[in-house]
């Protein structure tokens, strides 16, 4: 019987997954100005977190491909 491969190791890059959670701190962005394209800060700041989330998860994915299996 083939030997079981060792369990996956914890990858420190996984900590990047915590960054998008900063979006939950509402006092940081609950303002009207400055507006961009007419959108209040409250809205465009949160829209910015869409790419932030994508980049964080994307980096963690890319770094996981180097794992042994």
């Amino acid at each position: 019987m083939p030997k079981e491969p060792p369990p996956r190791r914890w990858n420190p890059w996984n900590l990047l997954l915590l960054v998008p959670l900063l979006m939950l701190i509402t006092p940081w962005y609950n303002f009207d100005g400055p507006r961009v394209f007419g959108l209040p800060f409250f809205y465009w700041y949160q829209f910015l977190f869409v790419p932030v989330g994508v980049i964080c998860v994307g980096v963690v994915y890319a770094k996981s491909r180097g794992e042994r299996r």
Binding site: R8, L18, N30, R35, G38, F42, Q46, G53, V57
Partner: protein, 551 residues
């Protein structure tokens, strides 16, 4: 019916028929050897690649109801409704790692539902039954709400009859959906999702570029919306809302977003979409690509303000006699777009109801079959009997949802959906924490579930809604000042609001931990674990994986 409405209805019907034909043909698409197995009927053969999964899960999570209800919430209350964006952004980083473990262990042991996993992990059919029932109860009103979404479009197109006859078009649409889901299983929504998403993206991009410029630009829209929301609501003597959060609802905003994100992948239909994918890589790629839908949802939410400024008025639902705020986006499209394009927009929302309704009914049917029928009624059921049972159950589930809309005030479905989010969250320790550790004792999990469920429901019951005069189940925002622990009010006098689900989940986990400590001291038996550590890391191509669609 006006000429415009006839054009809209014609475009809608053409697209609806196209989708129905696709639904019936789907049974032959990438077909396996047999459809008489839950792996095939209920999970599409467990072989969907990245693209299909993206459309399927996207169609599954971002439903018609979401597309009409989120802008309706903004239309009525302002910034709080925008929680849908943080909700769907923090979602993916949170579930990125646990979902891969869920896929691996399910693929290894042939699990079809989250309750299957709990059954295997703890060897407890009682715990699995609690998880299965929670899943079914939380999913049913969700399906009913898809119907509410579909009906809001039909009513906007002038199909707004009164009484039972008024529901007839909806009934016909659902019979067609039920028949092709019965025949094709998960392949039907997977194929239709391509059409749904193509239409949704087209409509949103056009709407978000065209409408603001037509109505004076975003800056003007926000100024006008601010003024409109600041007016005093005569029933509550408070402003309707605000384009920013206030001092009392920021905690509610954050906990509602976080709680909803934690809850979403505990819903059985979300797990169904994930288990149908062929490898961990498919899941990882999708966690990176799915936020494209979040962007669309955020943009769509802003249409609530556009509707507010455009002077659109919700349509009075002839069946209930009340104005239905969920019609606000369809009304906006109907007023601002040429008839043929409005028809496409309505079809996008309508078909957007069919995809999740199909997946949800399949997920509920899988739960019934695997964790109730097979566990308690027919232990020796063959795969073929399981598949037959699930197909029948999917019909029952769908007609149950239709009956809901027919005989019960839609408001009741909305209340139940609110409750659904809170109760599905109570399965988190048994399903999600168990993916990592078996430290929590199975009796601790049962006790935590009972307390979280009971307290969550009680708290929801105590929340009134002064705006519509409801004394109970008026929302999910609990004033922390009213929070009572056996008569002790830790935050007495505070008006700061918090999401009920978060409170109930904390209680659930605390009780689970306490009972676990007792159980470990008393050395109670903790069931047999069918899984081992390596099972949670296995990927496509591993020789030990269970074969698909065999007994």
């Amino acid at each position: 019916m006006s000429t415009d409405q006839i054009v809209q209805l014609a475009v809608f019907l053409v697209l609806f028929v196209l989708v129905a034909v696709m639904g019936f043909m789907a049974s032959r698409w990438q077909a396996g050897n047999t459809l008489d197995h839950l792996d095939e009927w209920g999970l599409g053969g467990r072989k969907f690649g990245s693209w299909i999964t993206w459309f399927l899960v996207g169609g599954d999570l971002y439903t018609a109801y979401t597309f009409v209800a989120v802008p309706a919430l903004i239309f009525g209350a302002g910034a709080l409704g925008f929680y849908a964006l943080p909700y769907t952004v923090v979602l993916y980083p949170i579930i990125f790692l646990p979902l891969q473990r869920m896929w691996s262990v399910s693929r290894m042991h042939g699990y079809v539902t989250p309750a299957d996993f709990v059954r295997g992990r703890y060897g407890s059919s009682l715990l699995a039954l609690l998880i299965a029932i929670t899943g079914i109860v939380a999913t049913m009103p969700y399906i009913a709400l898809q119907l509410v979404g579909l009906e809001s479009v039909l009513r906007t197109m002038g199909v707004n009859g009164s009484g039972l006859l008024g529901h007839l078009p909806l009934f016909i649409a659902f019979v067609i959906l039920a028949v092709y889901t019965y025949q094709s299983g998960l392949r039907a929504p997977a194929l239709i999702a391509f059409v749904k998403d193509a239409l949704i993206y087209l409509v949103i991009i056009v709407a978000i570029i065209y409408l603001p410029s037509k109505l004076g630009g975003w800056s003007h829209i926000f100024d006008q919306a601010s003024t409109a929301l600041a007016k005093t609501n005569p029933t509550t003597n408070k402003p309707f809302g605000s384009t920013l959060l206030g001092p009392t609802n920021q905690l509610q905003y954050a906990t509602l977003a976080l709680g909803s994100a934690l809850a979403l992948f505990l819903y059985p239909h979300s797990i169904t979409g994930i288990l149908a994918s062929k490898s961990r890589t498919v899941i990882k790629k999708n966690m990176v690509a799915l936020p494209a839908y979040s962007l669309v949802l955020g943009l769509l939410a802003l249409l609530g303000y556009v509707a507010l400024v455009s002077g659109a008025k919700p349509i009075v639902n002839q069946a209930t006699g009340k104005p239905d705020s969920n019609t606000i986006v369809p009304v906006l499209f109907g007023q601002q777009f040429p008839a043929w394009f409005a028809g496409i927009a309505f079809a996008a929302i309508g078909i957007g109801a069919l995809v999740p309704a199909a997946i949800m009914s399949i997920a509920a049917a899988n739960l019934w079959t695997r964790n109730i029928y097979k566990e308690y009624f027919k232990r020796d059921a063959t795969p073929k009997q399981e598949a037959t049972q699930a197909k029948l159950a999917s019909l029952v589930v769908k007609f149950g949802a239709v009956a809901f809309v027919l005989f019960v005030d839609p408001q009741f479905s909305i209340d139940l959906q609110l409750i659904g989010g809170v109760i599905i969250l109570q399965t988190l320790p048994s399903v999600a924490i168990a993916l990592y550790t078996r430290w929590l004792h199975r009796w601790g999990l049962v006790a935590g579930w009972v307390v979280g469920m009971g307290w969550g429901l009680y708290l929801l019951y105590t929340i009134p809604n002064p705006a519509n005069g409801k004394a109970h189940f008026g929302g999910s925002a609990l004033a922390t000042g009213n929070l009572s622990l056996f008569g002790w009010h830790p935050f007495a006098g505070s008006a700061v609001q918090i999401y009920v689900g978060a409170v109930a989940l904390v209680a659930n986990v605390v009780v689970a931990v306490v009972v676990t400590l007792i159980a470990r001291q008393a050395k109670w038996f903790n069931g047999v674990d069918q899984t081992n550590t390596a099972d949670y890391d296995r990927d496509e191509g591993d020789p030990k994986l269970k074969e698909i669609a065999v007994h």
